[in-house]
Symmetry: C2
Subunit: 662 residues, 2 copies
């Protein structure tokens, strides 16, 4: 048998499993796995560094299936190459409830999947993060323990989505030369031929962004191998445009949009199996083909063993640090750094914007937490995410701890998810809260996949002032709080900001948002002896003298306004308490006793937030009072805008008095 014939038999095993699984599930996408089987086979049998026995090997090559709808490709690869996470029964349970083989690859369901993909373009964006993580960690720990490639399989859709622009722009700029993208150039989309909607010269496009790019026949294994070798030796990231036939091997249907997202049907499958020269029942792979695949899966055993030796031989403190980082375990000194910071705040309170508070926190912890990799989408002076300890990541120089992402919120957030999923890094970023909309699909995936990304969003309300309604978030807090599993912090002062940061850092497996002000705020937390704090999501920050008649609930910049209103109400003989609500997600996780205690029994409940009411009903009740926004904002000096929309302590007092019937 020629090596080409052997290659074809291995590739056809992917095709068989894919078409059979989709057929059995009665839904799914056979077109991509069949079309890209040759690329995947060359990669997994000749190039990719991986160990099916240890899917978490830190220095494995990463393979990202950005075109997540082709999930049967990766499930086939994992099964064939010998990962324990996927057996033949799993393949037969494709797209069934609670299976390890859901419709799109979910890394939290299945070991061996690097990242959850499906929403197009995200995987490519994640891969930029993987590739940057590799360069950054290699700069920190040395190429003897960090030296791997990141491979991506991207579809037309991945390259048409806007996020691809942001991702390839920053990758090209930073010269992430170990990033290798296969474009499955099958010229078919759901609507029909790609020529219906696109005429981009992708190779020229990538070259314009500082990439290598070349075209090959995506069904020619030697062409694929040669292109990978060239890519591996390049000083730039590489696009390999692989001309393929979607649904390769499916008689008559191959090359048409009908194979993209539907089962092939019994007749076509029979024809395909015949063309593949396999006379076995559904899911049947010739024994020698499976053996050859399993052998290929062992290809990197020696490399893995060598790597272990090198990792063992690291200088002992470096070794301990490398292992700590890979275990995602925070350094012991971090707690002390936070304690020291909070002590200093109690002894010398600060009246600063919470974006500045966040900078103070970062400054205090930066040296204790080398895994923090910060950045901003070209709002560095506004987001305050760059502190002295953070030098810059630059093309060819990856040791720095701050990334100038450019005006690329979506690409930044997707790359952060990759940085976090790589391991060894906690990514932090900055932009304005209103632009959380620009990266929302990546924030959602972070929450879905439990990714430890920390999104700093400053300029968090109409307090933005003159920039006006296009730049004033009013619905964004509600929209972000709506994402399951995302912790949205809106701290009221520097102490709460420090607490929010510590929780965000310590809560592995959850992304966090920090919503921070542009404008200065007084420090409200003045004593260490606070019974409950940010960790409980909401807590009484000012108690009533005597039995409370009014409870005011507020977050962020409106807590100080609530405290002002309390003083006025107290003076008017109305005992009032103030509850700070820095994180609703955490508050709703507390037990009922605690929640009831915090909500209290005062006859009047009022929520205050310079945003929409939406998320507050669960705290103030649907009959509670609310001082906030019910429209978009307006351009003007911030204090005037607050007055204009009636978000003032006087408005809170008036509402309380009215509700008390005075």
């Amino acid at each position: 048998m020629t090596s080409r014939e052997q290659h074809d038999r291995l590739a056809n095993a992917i095709r068989i499993l894919s078409m059979d699984a989709v057929e059995k599930a009665k839904s799914g996408h056979p077109g991509l796995p069949m079309g890209a089987a040759d690329i995947a086979t060359v990669l997994y049998t000749r190039f990719l560094k991986y160990d099916p026995k240890d899917p978490h090997w830190p220095d494995r090559d990463r393979f990202v299936l950005s075109a997540g709808h082709g999930s049967m490709l990766i499930y086939s690869l994992l099964y064939l190459s010998g990962y324990e996470s996927i057996n033949l029964d799993d393949i037969k349970s494709f797209r069934q409830l609670n299976s390890r083989t859901p419709g799109h690859p979910e890394n939290f369901m299945t070991f061996g999947i690097e990242v959850t993909t499906g929403p197009l373009g995200q995987g490519l964006g994640n891969a930029v993060g993987f590739a940057l993580a590799e360069r950054h960690l290699a700069a920190q720990f040395g190429s003897e323990v960090v030296d791997h490639y990141t491979y991506v399989l991207a579809s037309d859709g991945d390259l048409m989505e806007g996020i691809s622009h942001e991702s390839i722009g920053i990758a090209g700029h930073l010269k992430l030369n170990k990033l290798i993208v296969f474009w499955d150039d099958n010229r078919i989309s759901i609507d029909g031929p790609i020529s219906l909607s696109d005429s981009t010269d992708q190779v020229a496009r990538f070259i314009a962004h500082g990439w290598n790019a070349e075209r090959i026949d995506g069904h020619d294994p030697e062409a694929i191998a040669a292109a990978i070798e060239r890519a591996q030796n390049s000083d730039k990231p590489t696009l390999i445009a692989c001309r393929t036939t979607i649904g390769f091997g499916a008689p008559e249907k191959a090359g048409t949009s009908s194979v993209h997202g539907s089962p092939l049907g019994a007749a076509t499958i029979e024809g395909a199996r015949k063309a593949f020269g396999v006379d076995l029942p559904a899911f049947g792979i010739p024994d020698d083909v499976l053996s050859a695949w399993r052998e290929a899966g062992l290809r990197s055993q020696d490399a893995h063993a060598e790597w272990k030796k090198r990792a063992e031989a690291l200088d002992s403190s470096k070794k301990a640090e490398f292992e700590r980082r890979n275990r995602a375990e925070l350094p012991e000194s971090l707690g002390g750094a936070f304690d020291k910071l909070k002590d200093s705040l109690f002894s010398a309170p600060k009246e600063v914007a919470t974006r500045k508070s966040s900078e103070i926190v970062l400054d205090a912890i930066a040296d204790h937490l080398p895994e923090l990799l910060s950045g901003s989408a070209d709002l560095t002076p506004s987001n305050n995410t760059k502190v002295k300890a953070f030098t810059e990541v630059a093309p060819g120089d990856y040791a720095g701890r701050f990334v100038h992402w450019g005006i690329r919120e979506h690409g930044m957030a997707a790359a952060m998810n990759g940085l976090a999923q790589h391991g060894g890094i906690i990514p932090v970023s900055g932009t304005f809260l209103v632009f959380s909309d620009y990266c929302r699909p990546s924030i959602r995936l972070a929450a879905l996949a439990g990714i430890h990304s920390i999104f700093v969003f400053t300029h968090d309300s109409i307090g933005v002032g003159e920039d006006g309604p296009t730049h004033q978030p009013v619905e964004h807090l509600a929209a972000l709080r709506a994402i399951p599993g995302l912790m949205v912090f809106r701290p009221c002062d520097t102490v709460e900001t420090a607490e929010a940061w510590e929780i965000a850092l310590r809560t592995e497996g959850h992304p966090s948002v920090l919503a921070l002000t542009r404008q200065n705020l007084p420090q409200l937390r003045l004593e260490a002896a606070q019974a409950d704090t940010t960790a409980r999501g909401a807590y009484e920050i000012r108690s009533a003298e005597g039995e409370a008649k009014v409870s005011i609930f507020a977050s962020g910049s409106e807590v100080s306004l609530a405290v002002e209103a309390k003083a006025k109400l107290d003076a008017a003989g109305v005992p009032t308490r103030v509850v700070s609500v820095p994180c609703m997600e955490l508050f709703f996780q507390q037990d009922e006793t605690y929640r009831a205690k915090v909500i209290g029994t005062a006859p009047v409940r009022i929520g205050v937030e310079a945003a929409l009411r939406l998320t507050w009903d669960a705290i103030i009740g649907s009959d509670g009072g609310f001082v906030g926004m019910d429209s978009f904002g307006a351009s003007g000096p911030a204090n005037e805008v607050y007055e204009h929309f009636g978000i003032t302590s006087d408005a809170v007092v008036a509402m309380a008095q009215e509700r008390l019937g005075r």
Copy 2:
């Protein structure tokens, strides 16, 4: 005086007004207006077709300031060229509350502003819509009445944002040759030199997307004029990369990031005024310069008069139709088409998915509503937004009524906003509800600016089934309902879908979302004699026999589930009513009497929606019961996924019984 000297004096007038207005406001962005003043001056004094006396002239050239932060550029241009919407006092009120000169251009505040910009990339995306609108209307009404250019001024940020990729991709593909983009290539961003974050060859990039592109000196008026002439004669859209100095004319600060977003300060301003040779107090423009500008503003008077003649000379039915379209007045026959459709539904009920219902509606109204321009982001067979009457828009052939947008949700939504703002067109689009996140910034701007775009989002819940949590929206209804002024419809059957469509079409000045199912639903509305309907936002669709003990509130696919639960509860002797809630936004606009009537007095209230509870508290009360989602979904057959998450009529019955204490 040479023409160059005269040009400089005109351009410096923009610089003076911009720096002085920012200085007076103590905030704003002088850098761009000063850097791009030469481009704007050449355009407004020599090329742009406009009439300050009639900002709504349908065949005016469109100018879009995509870099909206440079708003003083457009305010200066409007004032100088003689628009009544901006006088010198308005300029002096820059960025003040309720002024016509807010921080970013808001077209709903100021005539002469084509579209609200500021969030980067949006204006470029809108401009693609303007340019397509022009070609489409020219194909429908003839070039004698529709023949204009669309000009854009874009910044580095506009070109770095992902949306720019989607926008230039479709514009290049469709050969929108009357779209001309000036790139203000000043090589400065907020963080510093653009080289910190980008090394893209923009000219090569645009060429890869099928554009013309060339580099010029953005301060050389003759080079600018020559480039515009070449662009006007091109068969492709054109990028003119204009090398400029940010803050041109500001001594020492020009060319640095310090002039981007801060006042220049008195000393720099004095130096600049001296360099401009103007010895006048702040806001002072030499009389002859203002006169020259005003004269330039009258340049197109003859063209406008000629156009009026041609418009008058149109064939009378075409003329009436052209005028009707420009008035955004719906045809009289539309009401009849809806009535006829609803009659047919009452006589022959349909059990179809609401995405199919929507197709039935489009089919019924397509011929009556030639202003509908539909499309899909490569999900045409799934979104059902293409009906027989809709032929395709293709490169060079713009008469069709359906756009294959490609996998470009964000570019599509931004272009729709441009199509709608152009006038004469009601844009409709399709993608999956989960991908509303990908175009959320454009949906927000549609709501903010009151743009009549209609977003069809199908596959609106866990009913998506096998595609799994990456493709199952759970938080999107809440997140969309959070956007002020956006009507989010989730109809329960074909009748409600028709009603939703009619309201969406008739509500000029508001965008709408139609959230539609993948799965089939029974028709619940069977009689014409329904007292209240979708127009009320929520209404009793099934009344209780006797005094209701239970009220069930539901939307979309869960209304039929609520009706099932009602039958079971009725059978168990629990009188139950069902309220359909197709549009919360409309319901909350009803008077208190109506709202109280619909909410009713039953002791048990239960909301049912296969989504998060968030928006329901205002209807069911924070103590109401809710059957829905509180996490992401899961991959599996749709009915099993519903069972898995306990969204069943039995669960509703059990909750009702429990709450009744049975």
